[in-house]
Every structure is written in structure tokens, then in C-alpha cells.
Amino acid sequence: MWEYYDSFHHVDAPNQQSMLPALNQLLTVDQRLQNSLVKARVNALSHYDDIVNNMEALSTTLAAIKIKYQRLIPEEMVLIQPKLSALLTTLSQYKKTVEQIKSDLAATRNSINYLPVLILESQTVNVNTRLQNISINAHKQMLALLDLHAYSDNNYWYNDFLLALEIIRKNETLQVKIYNDQIEKHIRNIEAYRPRIVQNYAIIDEQSFSRSIQNLISLIVEFDKEQHKSTDQLQTALQIVTLLVSIIALLSFYHASVKGAELVAENSYRTRVNDALAQLAKFDNRVPRGEFLDNCMANLINVSNAYIVFVAFFKEGSDTQMETMSVNRSGEKLSNFTYQLEGAPCEHVILNHVCVVESNVAHLYPTDEMLSDLELEAYFGQAIIDASGKTIGLIALTYQQTTKYESWLRSLMGIFATRISIELERSKAIAALHKEHEEAITTLNSIADSVIRVDSAGLITNINPVACQLFGIDQPSDIVNTHISTLTIQTEGDAGNSISDLVSRCIYRKGLTNNRIELSITPRNSTKPLLVTVSAAPILDNKVGLLGVIVVMSDITNEIKYRQELTYQANHDSLTGLCNRRALNAHLEKRVKNSSVNSPCGLLFIDMDRFKVINDTCGHSAGDSLLLEFSSLLKKHTRSQDVLARLGGDEFFICLENADLTVTTEIANKLLQKIRQFRFKWQSHEFQITVSIGLTIIDSSEYEQSQVVSAIDLACLKAKKSGRDQLAITSIDDPDITSQQSQGLWIQRLNKAISHNQFELYQQPIVKADSQSDSLDFSLYQHVEILLRMRDDSGSILMPHEFMTAAERYELMPRIDRWVVENVLSRMAGQTEKTSLMFSEFVAINLSGQSLADKKLLTDIKQLIKQYDINPKQLCFEITETSAIANLDNAIHLVKELRAIGCKFSLDDFGSGLSSYEYIKKLPIDILKIDREFTQQIEHDQVNQVILKSIIDVAHGLGMQAIAEGIEDLISYNVVKEMGIDYLQGYGIARPEAIEPVDEASTSILETI
């Protein structure tokens, strides 16, 4: 009793789910009880302790469930409550019934055992006194009746019994009379209790305590299913399968009990039938199905004395042909055969579940030649029905002589059929489980993570291939059953923080350790430490407690390296290796907050005076080379604690740590001087470089970052205005910043450009590789990239690289991009003015890194698309690798959202930056725009050809298209086209052009294209 009660303490989570195991336990106990009761009925139970124990367990268990759960049942489940109460009432009724059965069986047991003795003794006396055979026959009849019907619910046997008794009485002598009185007394005793026993067994069947529990269980499972349908299918499936298995188990018990009850009526064949049933019960789930069926048939033929018995199922895929699974003739196993259902008695079985032909079967079924060939007389068939009620096969007994279908045989065949059906269901369930297990193993082997399972002592029981690889193990068997600590070399640094420590903690606490802990471990046989994330989770079992621990590890050494690269990339200028604008901004923000008079910071803004000249006359490579040399010069003359940044183009920024005005000025002057002395040599030319330096000092945390930027901008502007090659100083409080003098400041110019529409849209055609046209015509403008120019107050055109750096510095890019998107969309819709954009199929718009970080832009773009009723499929947004890396999460979000409505995305300047395919995997991109770097003079550059080809292949492999930029002549056009590029773009095809309004005539021409 305590055993059952105790098991409840393991049920921790107090909800309807954890009630399931408790109820399942209740079922199990009830099954045991029912089992005992059946045994008691067939006189096979030697004592009632089992019944008492199980009954006590039932009461205690149910009471515990009631107490434990009555307050904890969720509100939706209140209907469980009355069911539980009803279950308690049923139980008390059940108890009373069982008590009566116990008493009544005990009261009659002796009479049943004693009567045969009495009758035999009476017979002996009869023989001795030479009484007529008739009385002996009457005795025999009584014995037979007693055996058969002691607990049957038919009444006629008792009358027959008394009739036999009457016959004996007529022939009595004194001695016999005594026996007859005794016999009568015991018969009346049995008779007195028999009806109540029969009735009580019926009540138990009817009340079906088990069924009430099952109802409750299915109610909960049903409820659970509703609740967890979407969230946890595995769990639901698990519960359902568990329930299924327990129902199968229950079914077998149920059938055993029902059939057991029938057995009571078949006492004379009890031994044989019991033996057969015992054999049947003695199944081993490792026995193959064929062997099980063979055993069944052997048993059946042994009990029934039939000539041939067989079990047959529908031939796979057929409903007219049967295939035997086991055939037995007089104890000898025969080979299986297939036969037609039509015209055979088996057809009758399939249709009506039973077929009984006691004689002349061959005549009744003339078309079945087998019957006549084997000279069969009798045929008994019993259908095998599966759990869903479908007939799936049959068992048949055949005899060569006329045979009576005894009722016990009927029951027995029923039991065998049921048992075979259950066995099939069970083996199916086991097969499914096995499959699931195999799948789990396969999954385990194929996950990219290392998975190790250890037992509660920390010994390894399972290790998957990835883990073997991680720890340099050749064979999993080498390591199984050794302690997990042997996997790694203990180092001083990891005291208390090794894998085995995590596992011990998990075992000790029986709880989940922190998930994904990053550890540095050194695998045995290795000297190289690895960075791994480790998760350890206990495997808990209601009964046993902790079974073991699952350890999942993944090697993140490369990931960390990669992550570091990314961070570096996002914060550094790829050309010079100095900080980029983003890193500088972050640094300034921090530095301003920590500034005071005692901790000042000097800022230098350095703008090269003649960079544009060098760039334009000697080319980009010269410009790049100059920038590199210049930046190392800056590095050389600043201190290690100072922060150097390149803001883009020829603008540099230096943040001097702990430098007041004197120190900063000193350094700035020194820089001016050193730069003057510096000579940049390119080919045969030599250039002298001068710079304009703006200077300001941060000595208060009160300043806004924008104030700082404006101040230093103004300083630089002053330096330039005063004739370059000099230093200008502005204090942040300088009133000039807001005054008229700051008119030349970028922030004012840009703001004005946005508000006065001083930006102009340009477009550059992108041509399809299979396009035939090589001249400029309207169809050329079907695919375009939008470019931006800014018109100065003086009327001159500024290129993007001239104003973008400043726009980024003042964080104006989102506004500019929004301006671009709106103007492009309105032109596409033909609303602002009629341009060729109205007829473009594909319009590519650049989005800057700042715009990617701007969360509002996404909604704005979506709204504009809606407002102008543009087909999103015509829009393509170009983002650069660098800007995408810097804002990876935002970028992924934006890209996903806009792609979801149909927009396309291309990765601009691909190959110029980190050029990592990792990003392509992370960013869902449609098009790769290959940087001009790879198409320059492609016809001469073997390396670039290979690279270009491989990029194109990768793009295609990933389902993307590729655009080659910078196509400057027909030769490279043809070379690149040969490589299978999808689109081309470049000066060789068409230069960027202003998007001009088209006149009416052109419009009509356009419309005809």
C-alpha cells in the first residue's frame, strides 16, 4: 500500500497532465485486481491477500489523486471534478461487491471441492451395495453438471442436478442416504450463493471501474490535445501512443478476464484449455511473429484434436485471396499456401465472423476442391478482427470426421483470434516504436552538434559521430563506459567549469544547467583548445529518478573567429584599417559623456586639399595608395591611445585622448608640418600634399554630439576658406556655428537640398545579357539603376561621393533615401512628371547603411508603394555588403519584409568588401552585383576571370542572378556575357543620365513598344 502511495510523490507538476500517470497507475492496479478476481472465480487464487492489497492500493491511490488534484485542476477542467467524485462512489460500490464475492466464493468453495468426493464415495457405496447402474449414471451426470456449471448463470443445471438426485434417492440404503443428504446440503449451499456470485461478477463487468478511469483519461488527453495541439505535437503524440499501448495492454487483460469468466463454465476442459491459454500467455515479445503464430496453431491443434488448423490473412493488396501464415496438420507444421476466398467456407467466416460446419463440409462447398481432396468433414472458422473492427483474417479448424463444435472450443477460438489480433497490433506498435527509435538514432547521428549521453554516474553510454570527431575518437566503443571527464584534458583555468563539472551539477541538481554555456576545452589527444557551447539536460523518469544526462556541444571556435572578423569589418575602413565613421561615432558618443575640464579630448578633422586631383589624374589605384600612405603617416605621428578614423573619401578624423587645447594644437601643427614634408610618389610623378585641419576640444559632457560635429566641420571650413594648408580652431560654444557664417556647412546645404529638391535623379541602364541591342534606345531603359546627384547653389553638379560622407556624418541618409524612393515611385506612377521611368520594368534604388538601421523606412517604403500603386515586383533595392554587415539584423528584417511583398534585393559592390558567402546565406538576396574591380580589363586578367566565373556560378547555384558592373567596352561586355552573366551595366553600355521628362510624342512611341 505504501508503495503505491509513495509513487505519488514523484508526480511533481500539479496539473491535469501529471494526473495521467496517476490514473494510469490506478488502471494498472485495477487490472491486477480484476485478474485476481478472475482467478478466484476459476479456483486458481490461493489467498485473498492480493485482492486486499490491490483494493487498498485502489482506495489510497484514488484518494491521493482526489486530494492532490481537486484544488489544482484548471478551470476549464472542472468537469473532471465530478468525474473523480463519481469514481470514488463507483469505488465504494465496487469494494462492497468485491467483498461479497470474496465471502461468497469462500462459502461455496468447499462445497464445490467436497461434492465430487461425496459423490465418488456415494458411488463406492452404491457399487458395494450392488445398486443399479442408473444411480451411478446419475452420479456421473451430477459430476459433469457440477464441473460445468458451478458458477454459470443458467438455472437449468440445478434442476437437472436435483433430478439426478431424485433418481439416487429412489435407490437409497441407509448409508447412501447419509451421503445423499450431504450432497444435497452442499448443493443447496452452492445454490444459495451462486446467484449472488454470478450477479456480482456481472455488476463488476457492468460498473467497469476501469472504463470510468479510461473515460477520465481520455477526457484529459482530449483536453490536452485541444490545449497543446499547436505547441507540442510530440508530447501529444507521446501521450496518445502511451495510451494506445496501455489500452492494448488493457484489452488483453480485459479479454483474459472475459474469457476467463467463460472458462468457469467449461470446467471439464479446464486443464487443456488452461494449458493452451497458458502457452498463449507465455508469449515473449522477442519471438518473431511467424513463430508466435506457429505456437498458436500447435496449441490449438493440441487442444482441439483437429486434422488441419491454419491461420490466414488477406493477401497483400487483395480482398479475394487469402494467404496462410501458419498451417499445422496433426502437430506437423506445413508450408503456407494461397487460396481463393470465393466458394470456400472461409468466405463465410470473413462475412459473418464465424462459420461452423459440423459435418459434410465438402458437399456444402462443392467448389472448394481442397475440402474434398483432404476428405474434410467439419470446418470451424473464426474471424480475426483488428482494433478498428475490420476483419483481417481467420483461424480455421478442420476435421476429417463429423465433429461437434463445443462451446468451450468456440470460446477458445475466440480467445486465440483476439490474442492474435492483439499480437498483430502490438507488433505493429512495436515496429512503429522501433522505427521511431531508429529515426531518433539517425537524427542523433546526423545532427551537426555533438551529443553525448551519460548515465547517472557520469559514464558515457552514447556518443554521436560529430562528438567523436570533436574529441578525436575513432570508435564510439572506445569511449563508451568511461567517465565523461576522460574526454578532455583538465587545465587549471577550467576549475569547476569543465564539461564533467557541468554534468555533475546537472546530476546533482537534477535540473537543466544553463543552456549554451561557452567553454574552452582541450580534447584529449590534442593540445589545441576549442571553444564550445555546452548544454546539459537531465533525463528524468517518474520511477527511477535521474536516468542520465544529455550533453550537447557545438564547436564555436570558427564561429567566434568569424564573429570577431565581422565586428572588425563593421568598425573599420577596409582600405586603411582605420576606424570607420560608425566606430568613430560610437567612440565620440562615449567620449563626450566622460569629458570634463580635467579629462579633455582634442578632435582633429583633416581634409586633404588636393586628393581629387590625384584621384582624377592618376586613377583610383593611385588615390587608394595615397590614402594608405597618408593614414600610416597619421598613425606614425599620433599616440597609441588616440583614435584615428577615415570617414570616407579624403576625410580623416583624429580623437586625441587627454589633450587640452595646447597639446592638441601642438600635435595638429606637427601634423601639418609633417604632411608638408611628405611626398607622394606615383610612377614618375611626385606630389606634395597639404591638408586643412579643423580643431575643437571637448571638455564638458554637456555637449551634444551634433554640436561637436558642427563645430569641427566649421573649423575645417574656416581652414579651407582661409586658404588651405592650415589649422583652424572652433570652440563648441562658438556662436558662428549657428550664425550666417556657417552657411557653407554641409548640414545646412544638405537640409536645403532635401527641402528645395536640389537632388536630381539619374538613371543608368542595366541590360540583359541576351539583349540584342547595343545602341541607346528606349528599351534600354527597361532596367535601370537610379543614381543621385546634387545641384549646388552655384548650379554645379555634385557627385554622390562628394556629399554622402557629410550626409552620413549628419545622419541624413535616411531622409535622402526616402526622398529618392518617393520621387522615383511618383515618377514610375507618372504623377510628378512623365518620364521613361513610367515604362521601366525594373528600377533599382540604392539604400544606405543608415537607412537600413532606420526602422521607420520600412513602413514608409511600404506605404509609398501602396500610395503610388506600384507593382513591388518592379522594385529592386541595392544594399552594400558593408552596410548590411553593420546592420545585419535590421537588414535581414527589412529584406525579408520587402521581399515578402514582392520587392527584389541586390547586394551591391559584391567582392569589394569581405566578400563572404556567409552573408549571402544569411541575407535573402535575389541578385549579386559584382564589383567593377573584377570586370576592369577582364580580357587580360585570368585571375579575375576565374573569380568572376565562380561568383556567377555561386549566384546561380543559390538561385540568384548576377549583374556585372563597370563594363566599359565591348570586349569586356562580350567576355563577361560569355561567362553566363544575367545582366550587365557600365559606361561601355550607357552612362548615367538625368531622368528627363519625356514629351507627348515620345510617350506615344514608348507606349507602342
Partner: protein, 332 residues
């Protein structure tokens, strides 16, 4: 993923347990037929010795009764076999009770604490006897106060129970002590455990007769009885119409259920220590073992048991006398 794996493993385990339980339970059907009808008594369980000490004190202390005149031990003498050998014990008022005092030994192995099925649990049974007017006639407040006023109780209870003397702790002490009141080690149990010489030839013969006559239909299991109700008078009415002495207490289970079917049903008594617990039957009306065997044969089995067989059976019954605290009961 870890969750999924652990679930799959747990799941396979559940299935394994279920499958193996099917196999096991079906094997039970086969083996239990050969299992004995009578089982040896389980040994004394491991118990908290402090509670036993306390329990023994309470058991012998009249403080439990309302007028402090009776202790448990007044009617249940442990050295005698757990009863007082009287037909009816006296209550605190000096009145005779109506049911023969049953033995206090091996009660935890009975399926119901009381012979007439009045209560289902020992806990309630104690309360009935402590506070019943016709028993110890005490009340909780009185009892708790008396115990609290006795220094050695208050300190000893406080040692074991954080809350000291409470209704629950008093009952718990009694329940624990009750569990220690078992008498394993009888000659018959030794024989069951394989000691062939533990019982004599006559006693073995008696055991055979005990089965042949069918006594085991009711007296079976580890407590040799005590696990079912049975009607007194299966074959003939034990109480005839002329029997004027019929009292309410003779109705047995009927007194609790008021169900006519339950009239004259009593819990079948355990035959453990039966040789030391005379007089017999619920009304203590029979003094000799031999007589009660004859009555059982006549009324319960419908058989006349001859003198020779009766003395063999009686001899067998003496082998059921067990030991308490290492000493065999009733020999003094």
C-alpha cells in the same frame, strides 16, 4: 533537440515498462497456483525507535482514558497474546463491553481494523475507542492537556514532532507502535521458510486437514484470516430462534451497513496466536480450541470433523503462535 531526445528515451522506457508488465502479470497467472495458501508473516518493519518508546509508554498509560482508569494494556496484555482472556472487558465505567476483546497483535495485517467492520482505518478506529462512551470515554482537549501536563511526554514528543503533542502526533505514535505489534517467527512460519523439523508430524497432519476440510477457504494469506468478511453460519443458522441470548452486537457488519445481506457477517479472525487468545468467537462464548474447531466444521464447512482430526488441527493451530520482542507469546 535535447528535449526531444530525452523525451524519446523516456518514451521508449515507458513502453518497455508497459510491455514487460504485461509479460510479468501473465506469468503471475501461471506461478501463483503453486504459491502457498498460507504465507509467512512479514518481519517487524523498520520504525523510528523514539516513536516506539513513546508508543509503548502511551500503550501502558491510563492517561489515555477519560477517568485515567484504563490503559490500552488493561485489555490488551502483550505477554498474554494481546488480549485479556476475558469474555468481555470492562470499560471505564466498569460496564461489560459487548464484543470479546480481540488481540492487538498483527492488526496491521488485517484488511479492516475492527471485527464487525465498523471502521475502515486504524486512525478512526483509535478515535472511536479513545473517545467512545463505552470505551475509554476521553476527549481530545482533555487528553492533550493531560499529556502536555506530563513533562516527560511533552519533552519526548517535542523531540520527535516539531509541533509537539497534537492530535496528529498522538495518532501517529499509536499507528507506529501498532506496526511494531506483530508476531513473526512462529514454528509454522519457520516450517514455511524451509525448516522441516519446525513442526511435528501431527502438526503437519493438522495442516493437511486444515486444507482438506476447507478451512483455508477463509483462513488464508499471511495473517491466516483477517482478509475477508464471512457469515457466521454458512450452512446452518448459528443463532436459532430459541436462542434468546441474541444481541445487537451479534449482527456484525449489519450494524454498520443496515443491509440485511450483511447480517451475521464478521471479519474472519486471524488464526495467528489463536492458541493464546481464548475465549473465542466475537462474543467470547467458546473457551476451548477444540470446541471452536467443531463449531467451524458444522456451521461454516457443513462437515462434521471427528475428534482425532480436531486434535490434529488444534495441534497445527498451536504452531501459529509467534514471537513478540523475541519471546514466544503466552508461555509464562
Amino acid at each position: 533537440m535535447t528535449r526531444a531526445i530525452s523525451r524519446i528515451i523516456c518514451f521508449s522506457l515507458i513502453v518497455f515498462v508497459i510491455c514487460s508488465s504485461i509479460v510479468r502479470s501473465q506469468e503471475n497467472i501461471l506461478t501463483s497456483r503453486t504459491a502457498g495458501i498460507l504465507l509467512p508473516l512479514p518481519p517487524v518493519p523498520e520504525l523510528d525507535s523514539r516513536k516506539i518508546t513513546l508508543g509503548e509508554k502511551l500503550f501502558n498509560d491510563p492517561i489515555l482514558s477519560g477517568n485515567k482508569s484504563l490503559a490500552c494494556a488493561s485489555c490488551h496484555e502483550l505477554s498474554l497474546g494481546g488480549d485479556d482472556h476475558q469474555q468481555f472487558s470492562l470499560n471505564t465505567q466498569g460496564e461489560r463491553r459487548t464484543i470479546n476483546t480481540p488481540t492487538v497483535f498483527n492488526v496491521t495485517h488485517n484488511f479492516k481494523p475492527s471485527i464487525a467492520g465498523t471502521t475502515d482505518s486504524l486512525d478512526i478506529f483509535y478515535r472511536v475507542n479513545l473517545f467512545g462512551k463505552k470505551a475509554m470515554n476521553n476527549t481530545w482537549p482533555k487528553l492533550l492537556k493531560a499529556l502536555n501536563n506530563t513533562p516527560h511526554y511533552s519533552t519526548q514528543f517535542a523531540d520527535v514532532y516539531p509541533d509537539g503533542i497534537t492530535q496528529d502526533s498522538v495518532i501517529d505514535v499509536m499507528l507506529t507502535f501498532q506496526q511494531s505489534l506483530v508476531t513473526p517467527g512462529s514454528a509454522f512460519d519457520q516450517w514455511l521458510f524451509g525448516n522441516d523439523t519446525a513442526i511435528s508430524e501431527q502438526e503437519k497432519r493438522g495442516y493437511g486437514l486444515f486444507q482438506v476440510y476447507g478451512c483455508t477457504a477463509c483462513h488464508q494469506g499471511k495473517n491466516i484470516g483477517g482478509n475477508l468478511y464471512q457469515k457466521l453460519g454458512v450452512f446452518e443458522d448459528y443463532y436459532t430462534e430459541e436462542n434468546v441470548s441474541l444481541k445487537t452486537s451479534d449482527y456484525g457488519l449489519y450494524n454498520k451497513t443496515n443491509n440485511e445481506e450483511d447480517r451475521f457477517y464478521f471479519r474472519v479472525p486471524s488464526l495467528r496466536n489463536v492458541a493464546t487468545t481464548a475465549p473465542y468467537l466475537h462474543d467470547g462464548s467458546i473457551d476451548k480450541l477444540d470446541d471452536v474447531i467443531a463449531i467451524m466444521g458444522q456451521y461454516q464447512l457443513g462437515r462434521k470433523i471427528n475428534q482425532e482430526d480436531r486434535s490434529d488441527i488444534a495441534a497445527f493451530l498451536t504452531t501459529l503462535t509467534g514471537t513478540y520482542q523475541g519471546k514466544i507469546l503466552g508461555l509464562h
